[in-house]
């Protein structure tokens, strides 16, 4: 019994020693590389609830307004948002970005809540105006050592996916209960916006 235990030890020990000898190199530096840049950019818009609420509200409103707004808003928004990000990167200040983002959630949520139907130009201008704040606040925060291109792409794609989520939820608009549900969702976005406005002011 005892001898077989010793025998097992003798078998395991050399293997263990060799396994310990082949230690991989330590990654003591912050992660680098293209994939990390993409993931950081992708995570950025999703991680802030204020941004998420406003983006989903854009999708919901588009779904309420129907064609062509449902398609114009997701095409226009990323470009205008990128312009906002560009302003931030060029060091041109946009005053009160936090207020702008909170206000965008309040107004877009209210538009969904009351099913406002302004003309297409006014809807696009309203969404585009707020898109500048969203881009300015989030576009300029690239961590050092990461690919700027993939950060930007991840950032833009995540925002687009949030629109798609809003439009996807908005497909319930065809049913009577769905129309009520959308208005409730708009009300929730407004409440969230008020909370973030209060937080920005505090």
């Amino acid at each position: 019994m005892k001898s077989s235990k010793v025998h097992t030890m003798a078998r395991v020990l050399p293997t263990l020693i060799f396994v310990m000898l082949c230690a991989p190199s330590a990654f003591a530096h912050p992660q680098k590389g293209d994939a990390v840049g993409f993931l950081t950019g992708f995570r950025h818009p999703i991680s802030g609830l204020d941004h998420v609420l406003a983006m989903i509200a854009v999708g919901l409103w588009g779904a309420q307004l129907g064609s062509p707004a449902i398609w114009l808003l997701p095409v226009a928004f990323p470009i205008v948002m990128a312009v906002g990000g560009m302003l931030g990167l060029m060091g041109i200040p946009v005053p009160g970005t936090e207020y702008g983002i909170a206000l965008s959630a309040i107004l877009l949520g209210a538009a969904v809540l009351f099913e406002l139907r302004p003309s297409l130009t006014i809807a696009a201008l309203l969404v585009g105006f707020f898109a500048i704040f969203h881009g300015h606040a989030h576009g300029a925060e690239l961590p050092p050592g990461q690919s700027a291109l993939l950060y930007s792409m991840g950032f833009v794609i995540a925002t687009g996916c949030l629109h798609a989520v809003g439009i996807g939820i908005g497909t319930v608009y065809r049913w009577g209960w769905g129309q009520k549900l959308l208005r409730v969702a708009g009300g929730l976005v407004t409440v969230g916006g008020v909370f973030f406005l209060w937080k920005a002011a505090a």
Binding site: P14, W71, P78, A82
Partner: protein
């Protein structure tokens, strides 16, 4: 007893041998596939979003306009890329201009987002300029040896296949929502390009 000791030695020898055999290759070069220069060139293109995205944007644009445009881009862009790379071989060091790369994103992505009715001639010019510029950047700093030509063939092959797949896919789309989804993709490319422009101005 003696026999038992002998079996241990063979065990040590076996473990040592297997670890010695599992040495990791030294990675002195970037993106070496280990499958020869053709695949090195192919992977060099496929691992480079700065190169892929404008090519995809051009393929989307050509596909939106129709099969005729797609065919034109399919042959003009790889040819121009190859010629540009040949011209770039004589340059010594790579000196990419991120400003111009970002401008290509904005231009091509914007055209796709707007569903612009570019003429066949304009598509040809765009494809030729894009290929010459990016090909020149690829060719820079590659050195001058025979395997460089094989690398370039692999690279151009990857471009050819990518345009063929993307443009053919888009040219088939008839539903209006599908075409608008392509335009949304174009707006994402243009937006990424705008942010890139911002980065380049900040770096200065």
């Amino acid at each position: 007893m003696n026999r038992k000791r002998k079996s241990h030695v063979s065990l040590y020898a076996f473990v040592a041998f297997s670890f010695a055999m599992s040495a990791v290759p030294a990675e002195a070069h970037l993106n070496s596939t280990g499958m020869g220069p053709f695949y090195d060139g192919l992977i060099h293109f496929l691992m480079n979003p700065e190169d892929i995205v404008p090519v995809v944007a051009l393929a989307l644009l050509a596909g939106l306009r129709g099969a005729n445009y797609g065919r034109r881009a399919l042959f003009v862009l790889p040819t121009a890329w190859f010629l540009g790379a040949l011209a770039g071989l004589s340059a010594l060091a790579a000196n990419p201009q991120p400003f111009i790369a970002a401008a290509w994103f904005v231009l091509l992505g914007g055209l796709v987002a707007a569903d612009a009715h570019v003429s066949l001639r304009a598509t040809t010019v765009l494809a030729a300029l894009l290929g010459l510029y990016h090909g020149y950047l690829n060719g820079m700093g590659m050195g001058q040896s025979l395997s460089v030509l094989v690398i370039l063939v692999g690279l151009v092959f990857a471009i050819f296949v990518l345009i063929a797949l993307v443009a053919a896919f888009v040219a088939r789309l008839r539903a209006s929502w599908a075409r608008i989804a392509i335009r949304v993709g174009g707006s994402w490319i243009a937006a990424s390009g705008l942010l890139m422009l911002g980065w380049t101005t900040r770096a200065r």
